[in-house]
């Protein structure tokens, strides 16, 4: 009501817009239609402009450049499918891609299990001290991938690190966390799981809280065990969230860069270069923009295939 008063006080200053439409029958038949076209168009205009500028345009010229040997300056000589052919014969590209697949294959299931487990404990009526625990579990979300990488590098230092110190104190031999490629990747996997738990935990907590309590009560009456309840009630009930978690984690993990950059810089050597690091190095360090664009499009294609396959799998499960 306050608004209508204010409106009438203001209406002389905006005679064109609202006042006539209210006072008389529409004097311009398309007025109403216009109003509902102009307003949303204006509302999305900035977003639309940014979308065209920073999304459509790059995709178009990126596709274009992937058929050239552009280096970032000068002309962009057309080379046809050369870049793609070279890419399929480039062992460094395959190595990076394969490493990324292994990395994703390890991180996603681990993240899924830890974040679901943690979320389950956080909504369980039995665990005590959940307020503090929740904050601790969530803290890694605040830490940037770079800093998280530094933290785990510090923890798993090869010569002086807490983990190796504890191992030697217990009578073991210092483990080459940095000079062994597989161990090095394992540390990155642990770090990524630690860092990714927080956000996915948040999604799972919301989903678990929405499972109707009556289901559990009915199961209790039927004498179901805790595992049976988890397997038969909880998991099906949170399936949509599980799907989102798996999809987002996969897409996120496939394009990991900051964490591994700070932890071991894709080392030892270039053995743990992941795909985004490969694109960065070829495109921006060596200046092969055309070639890097081609590699980017392969990554884009892979991500799209992953997303579509997961969507289809999810749909089939639902039906």
């Amino acid at each position: 009501m306050v608004d209508s008063v204010r409106q009438s006080a203001e209406s002389p200053s905006v005679p064109d817009d609202a006042a006539p439409a209210r006072a008389k029958p529409r004097w311009w038949p398309r007025k109403r239609y216009n109003r509902y076209t102009a307003a949303p168009l204006l509302l999305i205009s900035v977003n639309l402009a940014l979308f065209l500028l920073f999304f459509v345009w790059p995709v178009v010229i990126g596709l274009n450049y992937s058929f050239t040997s552009y280096t970032g300056v000068g002309t962009a000589p057309y080379v046809g499918l050369d870049n793609y052919q070279k890419l399929f014969g480039d062992s460094a590209f395959y190595a990076a891609l394969w490493r990324t697949v292994i990395y994703t294959g390890a991180v996603v299931p681990l993240t899924f299990i830890t974040s679901l487990g943690v979320a389950y404990l956080l909504v369980s009526p039995y665990a005590k001290g959940k307020t503090v625990a929740r904050v601790v579990f969530f803290l890694p979300w605040l830490i940037s991938p770079i800093i998280a990488g530094v933290i785990w590098r510090w923890l798993f230092g090869e010569n002086v690190g807490l983990v190796n110190f504890v191992i030697t104190e217990l009578g073991g031999k210092a483990v080459p966390w940095q000079s062994n490629a597989n161990l090095s990747l394992m540390v990155v996997v642990l770090a990524a799981t630690w860092a990714n738990t927080a956000f996915n935990m948040l999604l799972f907590v919301a989903a678990l809280k929405n499972v109707p309590v009556s289901y559990y009560e009915a199961a209790d009456l039927d004498g179901a065990s805790a595992w049976q309840k988890f397997r038969r009630i909880t998991l099906p009930a949170i399936a949509p969230t599980s799907f989102i978690v798996v999809l987002l984690s996969t897409l996120h993990t496939m394009k990991e860069y900051g964490l591994i950059k700070a932890l071991n810089d894709g080392g030892p050597g270039s053995e743990n270069n992941l795909i985004v690091q490969y694109i960065y190095l070829t495109g921006f360090r060596r200046g092969h923009i055309g070639y890097a664009s081609a590699a980017s499009f392969i990554l884009l294609l892979i991500l799209m295939i992953i997303a579509v396959v997961q969507l289809l799998a999810n749909r089939r499960k639902e039906s």
Binding site: V14, P40, I61, V136, P140, I279
Partner: protein, 289 residues
């Protein structure tokens, strides 16, 4: 508002005698995990208070024998921390403000208007989730360079403004706002845009807060895009700065620890103050992290 209300929390009754072993079991597992999750960061922060000489002397001790802040003062003076900090702050705040305005406007349009091109645009926005900027890194760089934004903070901010997550958070919220409210405003003669600014924006305060925190976190922690766009050390953000210490031939751990811990403080403070907006966020709409 019309959503069916669930009865007040009817979690299983507490304090039955048979529950004690369960409580002990669940609590101990949870607290074990808490320790596992806390140790990496805790060890890092405690180490940052050790003098440089003690960092690598065996036997390692959890707590510093002599507490010192020399790593912090060194990071502040040698590492140009203040400049990186201000740059990061500018990027994060500018991107966050723009993200909120743009996402709120788009989300509102998608929720309250019914045009075929709006539906098409919604699909386009969703597509940006599937195709993150990492997949168009090189061409996006060329676009930003052609716009003359290379090596400037606005070049970092501009491509980061549109996010599917933000847009759909707002869309999801505005869908729940009854259309009657909008109709009433129209009958009272309020223009479409003034309804949005004066009625809808104030209503969406919780969403604004949540998105603000998320957006701030994304931009504060972003690494790859600023690394590509910023070339001049004067423009560096904190993440690039910290990464440059890690990338050095001989890592100066004392400075690195101090700078890293300091770079985490703003987010930590924001989180502790606005915790409820993060923890209760309804995060089921087209998101990315």
């Amino acid at each position: 508002m019309t959503a069916t209300r669930r009865p007040p929390e009817l979690r299983r009754p507490r304090g039955r005698t048979g529950d004690v072993p369960k409580a002990i079991g669940a609590s101990s597992i949870m607290w074990l995990l808490v320790v596992v999750y806390a140790v990496p960061a805790l060890w890092f922060v405690l180490s940052s208070f050790k003098p440089a000489g003690d960092l690598f002397t065996y036997p390692l001790t959890l707590f510093p024998k002599h507490w010192t802040v020399s790593g912090y003062t060194q990071a502040w003076t040698q590492f140009d921390f203040a400049r990186y900090f201000v740059n990061t702050l500018i990027v994060a705040i500018a991107a966050t403000l723009l993200t909120i305005v743009v996402s709120a406007a788009t989300g509102y349009a998608l929720a309250k208007y019914n045009n075929w091109w709006l539906k098409a645009f919604a699909v386009c926005i969703l597509a940006t989730t599937m195709l993150p900027s990492e997949t168009i890194l090189a061409p996006l760089f060329l676009v930003v360079r052609n716009l003359g934004l290379y090596n400037s903070l606005s070049g970092v901010v501009a491509p980061a403004v549109i996010t599917a997550t933000g847009t759909f958070m707002f869309r999801q919220f505005f869908v729940t706002v009854p259309n009657d409210l909008l109709e009433a405003a129209r009958i009272d003669g309020s223009g479409e845009l003034s309804t949005f600014v004066r009625i809808m924006i104030p209503l969406s305060r919780p969403i604004i807060m949540t998105l603000a925190i998320f957006s701030f976190q994304w931009r504060w922690n972003e690494f790859l895009w600023p690394l590509i766009i910023l070339n001049d050390p004067k423009q560096f953000t904190l993440q690039i700065g910290v990464a440059s210490i890690v990338g050095a031939q001989n890592v100066n751990w004392s400075v690195l620890l101090g700078a890293s811990v300091m770079s985490m403080v703003p987010l930590l403070a924001i989180y502790l103050i606005f915790q409820k907006y993060v923890m209760s966020a309804d995060l089921n709409a087209g998101l990315k992290d």
